[in-house]
Amino acid sequence: MARRGGAPEVNAGSMADIAFLLLIFFLVTTTIETDAGLDRMLPPMEPPDVDVVIRQKNIFTVNINKNGQLLVEEELINLKDLRSKAIAFLDNGADGSCNYCKGNRDGSSSDNPAKAIISLKNDRETKYGTYITVQNELVGAYNDLRDRESQRLYQRDFTDMEGEFLNPETPSRIRDELKDKVKKIQELFPQKLSEAETSSSN
């Protein structure tokens, strides 16, 4: 009986081709995720039962017209100055109840961060890109202030802390610890951004 040495070797030369085929399939059918963005809450449909009276000095009005120009507190300003203006308004603390505010306590500006409201209004023909830039600057103003307080209290950036808190991969023990800190900072500078219905230009 003629014995042959073992099973014949399988030719693996086409393995690369098969792998390439799979690779190309995945390249074509999938996309790299771009899912990051600005989180916002819309106001509920039902108006609140009680009418709250807000003093004019506690409202920071931002108007965007259809050409993308900004009117902030009745004053035409450059988009680049919006963040510093918003920070100055939020951090003003005119009534002295806010002991962590570093603003110049201007009597004609906001009383304290809890009362300060930013009101954003835009035209129906405003470009979406401009709107996002304005939103980004306003959120950035809040984040800058929260970062400052967070650095003072916990020697860490707020945005960094919040990112870790929201990340589902963070262990729950650390998450619970972060939750209190994040909440505390959020209460120091509550985000109050109101959006009125858009006005038409005519």
């Binding site: 996309t31 819309l42 509920p44 979406y128 996002i132 980004n136 990340n167 589902p168």
Partner: protein
């Protein structure tokens, strides 16, 4: 005779391709892990604006997508060049957004129905009027948590 066909010493040995499958598999696994399946093909132009203060959208199963933008060239003959709304795989009018959200919400498991986020993927050239109408629709069906999906980058590039 054999001395005429003698191999020269300086000849390069052939490059071994035995590790090629390994390399390709490595690439394959890389793409399998970092990408996700496309769930709908885009029928609108979708150049998102840039923003720097972004937050990541976690957990894809809790997100509903609304695309807005100019129809791509193939569809421009039929639908014109004004920005349109795309829901799943078809164009829709503003009034259909509310129903779409309710339908999609009903498809999700009970425990997720209250924590859904609506991601607005809007082309940066779109007008705010359309967005305002969509937001109004979302408020009507109580889908209040929204996310303006953006690229990460310098926000001032949007306005140039």
């Amino acid at each position: 005779m054999s001395k005429f066909t003698k191999k020269k010493d300086g000849d390069l040995p052939p490059v071994s391709t035995a590790s090629l499958p390994d390399i390709v598999f490595m690439l394959l696994f890389f793409f399998m892990t970092v990408t996700v399946m496309k769930d709908s093909s885009l029928m609108v132009e979708n150049v998102l604006p840039n923003a720097s203060e972004v937050k990541k959208l976690e957990k894809k199963d809790r997100v509903l997508y609304i695309f807005v933008g100019k129809p791509t060239r193939d569809y421009q003959k039929v639908f014109g060049t004004e920005p349109k709304i795309q829901l799943n795989d078809k164009f829709a009018s503003v009034s259909e957004v509310g129903d779409f959200i309710l339908q999609e919400r009903a498809k999700k498991p009970q425990e997720l129905q209250n924590v859904l986020t609506t991601a607005l993927k809007v082309d940066k050239g779109a007008n705010m009027g359309l967005i305002a109408d969509i937001k109004m629709q979302l408020r009507e069906v109580n889908a209040l948590k929204i996310n303006y999906t953006t690229y990460e980058g310098d926000a001032f590039r949007n306005v140039q």
